[in-house]
Symmetry: C3
Subunit: 133 residues, 3 copies
């Protein structure tokens, strides 16, 4: 299953928890794994607090401080900071499915991380049956 | 299986290798996967050197330097740096199980990463049978 | 399956996509998972752009800026920055296999990340049959 995500800013964390949860539900899987994978090199996926939207704003801010917009970059497309952030945050997440639902902590949500937007992006959500102990 | 971890400081890496290894052993699985998952948004899990305890002190120090304690944070709970560190280090790790034991490199151990302690935390350790090649 | 990687510099990202793809092909698996795992504590694995070699040079540069070579490190071996980078980038990646091939985005490649070279390193590439939806 491939989800589509439309981003509106250069740097932006978008809460995709409900979209992923819906896909898991539709799959009919009772117990198993859900693998999220971003097929882009200037975007990522992470799990963090979804209750307060200001958390994701703070994550965006610090990532932009850690990875400078201007430096002696060799890559000529001008989006090297986005590539660096993609490797720091990572292209995938692995979640458990129990009793037909994603296993997330109380405050956790799933965020698509845009680092070179705005663009229309994809994220793969693959589920599999598995007996976990 | 859910492991409990009691942390004593605000920032602290705790070696949980032996607890995870014990759970893998008790599961009786010969070959398969072990998925570690942190259901919190201000904590993480990582794999690094367990032989010299000073390595984890250095990791804590650099993370605290990279992510400033004070900044123009919007999140009012005062723990935004912990949320950022959680996304940089990541909520999960995936390990192989071979011949009934976790596959770790010679110097590797598994560390629960507390970024907003002290607290009593959880980490999920899920194992599954799988034929790996 | 264990791949060998020979690194030539202290910090170096090496494109191992074709080696991993060859192992997946030789396994004969049609649909499943490929788990990449680095059994070292001063190296990592990441997915990023493989088309322009300057991207990996920029990633190396920013990682060296983020994690200082000199600081009040406690670990006496002098390679604490490499340990920190290993935890920031991560020891593993999980990829899907479809129709006998690795699923990667158009611009994505797999990079072994050396942070304390030059050395001869290993990376585990484990594949398993799995029906993904």
């Amino acid at each position: 299953m491939i989800l589509s995500v439309k981003t509106k800013s250069r740097t932006e964390l978008i809460d995709i928890t409900s979209q992923v949860a819906e896909q898991v539900k539709q799959s009919g899987i009772g117990d198993g794994l859900c693998m999220l994978y971003v097929p882009h090199t200037t975007a990522a996926v992470t799990i963090n607090e979804s209750a307060d939207p200001s958390v994701r704003v703070d994550i965006e801010m610090v990532l932009n401080q850690i990875v400078p917009w201007e430096a002696n970059y060799k890559h000529l497309e001008g989006n090297s900071p986005a590539h660096v952030k993609a490797s720091l945050v990572g292209a995938s997440e692995l979640l458990a499915i129990e009793n037909g639902a994603l296993v997330l902590g109380t405050w956790q949500g799933i965020f698509f991380c845009e680092f070179d937007g705005p663009r229309t992006r994809k994220i793969h959500a693959r589920v599999m049956d598995a007996r976990l102990r």
